[in-house]
Symmetry: C2
Subunit: 186 residues, 2 copies
DNA sequence: ATGCAATGCAAGTCAACACTTGCATCGGGC
DNA sequence: GCCCGATGCAAGTGTTGACTTGCATTGCAT
């Protein structure tokens, strides 16, 4: 084996297992095996399982180009950009928020990672607020507005990943944004 | 202690701990303590942790009066009935779906419990389809329609329960249904 | 009152997991 | 070529959790 293990590989294995098995179910042994690294090395480099997971999530967040969503003046396009970022970028990113909120919140040592989805919502809220100021979107709490935009997408991802046998249809993002605008646009 | 333990009490303790700690985090010892029952008794009566959890979830589903939602001819009222059933009935019920989808799906021995939310969605779909036939709602996959209706409510519950310090505002169900109808109604 | 079945209690088994230790090895920087 | 730090490997520790066993107790039915 080469000297200096590949952090990227470790993080990827960690995230993959987290999404599949949850925090408790993703054992350090499994992560080590999937990353082709010795389990002991994980502890030597990252200290503990919690720290490893925190590092992996932070890395994932940095990969996630949330700030690539910008105000362009075209409401429809910007909203589409948001749901697409959330939904189609990579299967990993689309499940992250759910994982963090439902699982990470239970483990105090990982509490801080919960800020990731909140930061994301906050970023989107900024843009929503600008459109509200321009009266392209109706008034109302921008936080709730983001929830109305992303909620159906999140639930769709959730149900689809929960049981492949159920054949849940994939959401049509174009139509979703259009209908969102019927209710929230001006 | 009395003879014949109280199943209701055991189920209540089980659900409560599941919602708070997840499947892995809710230990049989904790459940026993909270239900004021000996841990051994749980195994004697329910066989295993998985069977206990399955029984508790089944019981919870029966409590959840999903079939109380009926077609009345008033779209707005019926949709309101759905989101209210989901959101405000009891704090437990409002988190159940998330728990089942995000946690139960990971444990093969509990796979069947995942049908609970799907059954619920199916029930709602029936009513949606009827309104679509009457052209009170626009056409489109009723499954996706239910997701658009419940998604924002679910995400709101999720974020609010994730971190109380974040002060996520509570969703206004009346307004949500109204805006949903703007996008999906006729 | 008595017997039986459900429960409580104490102790223990077994496996898995996070994490540690000691030592061998490998590979790049000097 | 040599050294040192990062890695691999084997074994082990301590804890915890699901589940078991043996026995005492309790309470309802008869």
């Amino acid at each position: 084996m080469a000297k200096q293990i590949d952090d990227e590989q470790v993080y990827a294995a960690t995230i993959e297992l987290l999404l599949a098995k949850g925090y408790a179910g993703a054992t350090t042994k499994m992560i080590a095996r999937k990353a082709h690294v010795n389990e002991v090395t994980l502890f030597r480099k990252y200290g503990s399982k919690a720290q490893l997971v925190a590092a992996a999530l932070a890395h994932e967040r940095d990969q996630m180009a949330v700030d690539s969503v910008d105000y362009t003046g075209d409401v429809s396009a910007d909203l589409m950009h948001m749901v697409e970022l959330y939904h189609s970028a990579t299967p990993r990113q689309s499940q992250m928020m759910l994982l963090i909120v439902s699982d990470m919140a239970r483990y105090p040592e990982l509490r801080e990672t919960i800020q990731i989805p909140f930061e994301m919502v906050a970023t989107f809220s900024q843009i929503i607020m600008r459109y509200q100021a321009e009266e392209q979107l109706r008034e109302g709490d921008p936080f709730l507005c983001v929830q109305a935009l992303l909620g159906p997408v999140i639930v769709n991802t959730m149900l689809r990943s929960a049981d492949a046998a159920m054949r849940v249809p994939m959401i049509d993002l174009q139509e979703h944004v259009a209908r969102f605008l019927s209710g929230y646009g001006n």
